[in-house]
Structures are given as structure tokens and as C-alpha cells.
């Protein structure tokens, strides 16, 4: 298997060659408030196919809300979210389903179904979205996904019987079940020890390399962001302060960027 550094450099190389890649996710002038609390205040971002964008920022700056808006779990107050050019703002739940089949979402706390085994958790999207698929085919797919994230041995365990890092791996396998074009990761390394964090980073890189998805990773872990992303966006007070690669962030003269990097 390639090292993280090799894969990272390959990805950066492919990004430069693939300048005309299709825009998978585009958000434009997104505003969102909860009551009197303004969370997003005109965020605009775009992510191309095969690209990984890390969204950084302090806690409570609306990073997770941004992901929830992209997948349609929240409705924006104003602004648009487009998935492969299709505006998702006016779609009803079943129409959104067709868009969501192209997307995989890893929740911050994995959000595994706690009454189902690891195997049933990963099989869930297949059972409800690919009903015509034969059971043996589904079983094979689940086994393959769990092998991919190194969790094949825990197939029959309940989510409560595995560690936080393992739950994230299972969550990742579930997010990949429908072979998505877009992967949204909400704090994939939050609450994990440095070794588990590195393993998750390694896994995300490997999966992105194999599946060539557009990915958005929300994190406050600068090291993880630097490892897995081609591009970084720093959020503050509901807006994007700076967007670019790590070197561009380092060279920035913006006070908040300097402070964020200093404390990361």
C-alpha cells in the first residue's frame, strides 16, 4: 500500500492536471440562522470531482451545519446548494433521496443504528435503496466494504461493543455502501487518539484514491486536514475567511488565519 505522503502528492499532482474537472458540489451565498443566532452568513464554496476540501474553523462556526445543508438535512434561509448542477433547494424528501444516493455522509459521532449489528448497519442503505439486488450480492458487498475499512472481524458486534475509532470506520463503510460520488465527513478524527486519527486519515486517503470522489471534510484538526485535503477553507463568523492550499494559508497576512495556524 502507498504511504500517506505518496498518495497525497499523487492527489496534488492529479489536481493540477485535472483543471477542468466537473464541479460536484457548489454552494453559493448560503445563509443560515437558528433563532437569533446567525450561523452561516454568505458562504460560497465549490468542490470538483476527485478533489478534497477541508473546512476548518473554531467550534460553533457552522462547519457541521454547512455539511447538513449540503446533504439537505437543513434548509438554508437563503442561497443555493447545487449537486452536479442541480439546485436542491426546492426538492421534496423523495426527490432529495435521488441526490443523496450519490452522497455518503460520515457523522461526527458515526450515528450508527444502535439496535443493529455492524453488518446490518452497513447493509442498511443497500437494503432500502437496492431492493432488486440479490441477498448474496448484498452480503458480498457488505463484507467487501467492511474489509476495506478493516472491520470484517467485527461484523456481528453491536456498535456499543466497539471503540469510537471503530465506529467511525463502520460509519465510513456505511457512507460508501451506495458507491457515492460525493463524500461528506464531519470531524472524522474528533475524539480519537493520535494513532486512531492517523489510521482514519490513512483510510480516508486510500478510499478517496480508489473511488475518486469529491470530498468535503469538516475538521478542526489542521494536521488531518493537511494530510487528506487538496484545498482548505477557513470559516469564521459564518463566512469563509480564506480558501487555498496549506502553503497559501501559511503565507496569509489575515490576523485570524495567523492566530488559527499558531494555535493548531
Amino acid at each position: 500500500m502507498d504511504t500517506i505522503e505518496q498518495i497525497t502528492s499523487q492527489r496534488r499532482g492529479s489536481e493540477q492536471e485535472d483543471g477542468a474537472a466537473v464541479v460536484a458540489v457548489a454552494v453559493k451565498d448560503l445563509h443560515k440562522s437558528f433563532g437569533s443566532q446567525k450561523v452561516l452568513d454568505g458562504v460560497s464554496l465549490a468542490v470538483k470531482r476527485g478533489e478534497t476540501l477541508a473546512v476548518l474553523g473554531r467550534s460553533g462556526t457552522g462547519k457541521s451545519v454547512l455539511l447538513r445543508l449540503i446533504i439537505g438535512l437543513e434548509k438554508p434561509d437563503s442561497g443555493t446548494v447545487s449537486i452536479y448542477g442541480q439546485d436542491t433547494g426546492h426538492l421534496v424528501l423523495d426527490q432529495l433521496g435521488a441526490i443523496r444516493r450519490k452522497m455518503g455522509f460520515l457523522f461526527q459521532h458515526a450515528a450508527l443504528y444502535d439496535s443493529l449489528t455492524v453488518e446490518q448497519n452497513v447493509a442498511f442503505p443497500l437494503q432500502h435503496n437496492q431492493r432488486e439486488m440479490a441477498k448474496s450480492e448484498k452480503d458480498d458487498r457488505v463484507r467487501q466494504l467492511l474489509a476495506e475499512v478493516g472491520m470484517e472481524a467485527a461484523m456481528q458486534k453491536m456498535p456499543s461493543d466497539i471503540s469510537g475509532g471503530m465506529q467511525k470506520r463502520v460509519g465510513l463503510a456505511r457512507a460508501l455502501a451506495l458507491e457515492p460520488d460525493i463524500l461528506l465527513l464531519d470531524e472524522p478524527t474528533a475524539g480519537l487518539d493520535p494513532i486512531s486519527s492517523a489510521e482514519i486519515d490513512d483510510l480516508v486517503l486510500k478510499l478517496q484514491e480508489e473511488h475518486h470522489m469529491a470530498s468535503i471534510v469538516v475538521t478542526h484538526d489542521l494536521h488531518s486536514a493537511k494530510t487528506i485535503a487538496n484545498r482548505l477553507a477557513l470559516l469564521d463568523q459564518g463566512n469563509v475567511v480564506i480558501e487555498g492550499n496549506f502553503e497559501e494559508l501559511q503565507e496569509s497576512e489575515i490576523g485570524f488565519v495567523k492566530e488559527f495556524l499558531k494555535h493548531s
Binding site: 437558528f34 437569533s36 423523495d94 457523522f107 459521532h109 446490518q120 435503496n129 451506495l178
Partner: protein, 279 residues
């Protein structure tokens, strides 16, 4: 690989958006909140109804809920029905003997049980057991983002979680009511037979003398409305929960309180309608 979706344990609580809406609610006056609650309930019902009649249908989950709501409520309903039958028998014997109408005792028990006590006792027992269960289960799934995960997996949670539970409540309520009625009548007879020997055959013959299907079917099928109320309110309260463990507790309590209250209120209206159309 098949499995059921339900919440069985506490998990990390959702952090992102759980705080703001309740804070906003505090600023509203109770009248506004009251009307907003009904408006939201109406929208929720519309979402569920639309999801219930459009494919794909979640038959596997429906059958699991029929078992969960129906078979597992049966012992409780039977016990409550039996106790009601005994109490009715003792009370009616005392009153009717006082007024010299002891021969009407079987009819008094039968009519009381099948007309009113059977359906309403079943409604209240099911709203307690099932309302709290559904409310707490869905609330727990909501605060641990499991419902969001279902939605993110391109599955309609109104169809998978709400429509199946509400439909199961509607379908099982008349059957549970019949079971409760039967237990009430049997124990009513036992209570009477212990005081004054009377065969069960005689008790039933006397009790159902002059009764027809209009005495049994409308009161039994009115419990479908009770089932709709219990399922709808419990799912609604569960799926709109916010605020972590305290929110789960509030959802379970409010599911039971509101569904019991609305079952009693609906009974008033339904009895009037039944008397109007089936005099």
C-alpha cells in the same frame, strides 16, 4: 443480515442544532405555541400520509411493528380488560340489586364493556405502553442523529419510522379491543358466577339479548381513530425532539399525556357520531 431499527441505548447527543430552536420557543407566547404545534402536527401528518401511499413500501418494518404494538400489548390489554370486567360486575350487581333489576346484570356488563369501557380502556393502556415506547425510541434516535443517518442514506424516515408505526397502531387497536372486551366479559361472568351460579352460555345469551352488530362494530372500529391518534402523536413528539436526554424524557411523557388526552377527547366526539349514525 435483516434487522430492526430502534434505539436501545444512550449515545452521544447531537451538538449542532439542538440548542437554538428551543431557545426561540421560549420567546413565544403559549397561544402561538399552541397553534404552531397543531400546524406542525398537520404538516407532519401530511408528510406521513404522502409517504405511506407512495412506494417503496416498508412491509418488513410494518410486520415488525404489528408484532411490537399488537402482540406485545396483548397481555396488558387483557389484564386491564379483565380487571374492568370484574369491577363492572361488582359495581353493577350492587346498583342493579338496589333498584330491583338484578336480571339485567349480564346485559349491563356486556353493553358497558363492548360500548365503552373495552375501547377506552384499550385506548388508554395502548397510549401508555405504545405511546411512551414510540416517543422515547424515536426521540432517542433523533438526538443521536440516527434519524438523520436514515435520511442521509436516502431513506424516507416518515415512511420507514412513522408510517409503519401509525399504520400498525390503526390496525392493531380493534383487535386488541376485541381481546380486551373478551377478557372483560369472561371475568365479568366469573365475578358474577362466584356470587350466584350462572353458566357462561346463559350469561352471554342474556347479555347479548337485543344486541346487534351495531352495538359491537362501530365502538370497536372507533379505536382505529384512537390508534391513529396514539401513533401520530407519539411519532410526532419523538421525531421533533431536541435537547438530549432531557428531551427524550419530555418526548416520552408528552407522548403519553397528549395521546391519552386526545383519545378521551376523540371518544366524546366519536360516541356522539356513533349514536347519530347507529342509533
Amino acid at each position: 443480515m435483516e434487522g430492526k431499527i430502534s434505539a436501545v441505548e444512550s449515545r452521544p447527543m447531537k451538538q449542532t442544532v439542538s440548542v437554538a430552536p428551543p431557545a426561540a420557543e421560549f420567546g413565544k407566547n403559549p397561544i402561538t405555541q399552541f397553534f404552531e404545534w397543531f400546524g406542525d402536527l398537520g404538516l407532519f401528518f401530511w408528510q406521513v400520509a404522502r409517504a405511506a401511499v407512495t412506494p417503496p413500501f416498508e412491509f418488513r418494518e410494518l410486520f415488525r411493528q404489528l408484532d411490537e404494538i399488537g402482540s406485545k400489548s396483548l397481555p396488558l390489554v387483557a389484564l386491564a380488560g379483565a380487571a374492568t370486567g370484574v369491577v363492572l360486575s361488582m359495581e353493577a350487581r350492587y346498583s342493579l340489586t338496589r333498584f330491583g333489576a338484578k336480571s339485567l346484570l349480564p346485559a349491563a356488563i356486556v353493553f358497558s364493556v363492548i360500548h365503552e369501557t373495552g375501547p377506552i380502556i384499550t385506548g388508554l393502556v395502548v397510549s401508555g405502553r405504545v405511546g411512551a415506547g414510540i416517543g422515547a425510541e424515536l426521540a432517542s434516535m433523533k438526538v443521536t442523529e440516527q434519524i438523520d443517518a436514515i435520511e442521509a442514506s436516502a431513506v424516507n424516515p416518515y415512511r420507514l419510522l412513522a408510517a409503519t408505526r401509525i399504520l400498525a397502531c390503526i390496525l392493531m387497536m380493534p383487535l386488541l379491543t376485541l381481546a380486551g372486551d373478551a377478557c372483560g366479559l369472561i371475568m365479568g361472568w366469573v365475578a358474577q358466577a362466584l356470587v350466584e351460579p350462572l353458566s357462561f352460555h346463559q350469561f352471554i345469551n342474556n347479555g347479548f339479548k337485543g344486541a346487534d352488530f351495531n352495538d359491537l362494530l362501530p365502538p370497536t372500529f372507533k379505536t382505529c381513530v384512537f390508534g391513529l391518534i396514539i401513533g401520530l402523536i407519539a411519532c410526532f413528539q419523538g421525531m421533533r425532539t431536541q435537547g438530549g436526554a432531557a428531551g427524550v424524557g419530555r418526548a416520552a411523557t408528552s407522548s403519553v399525556v397528549l395521546s391519552s388526552l386526545f383519545v378521551i377527547l376523540a371518544d366524546v366526539v366519536l360516541v356522539k357520531i356513533i349514536l347519530l349514525f347507529f342509533p
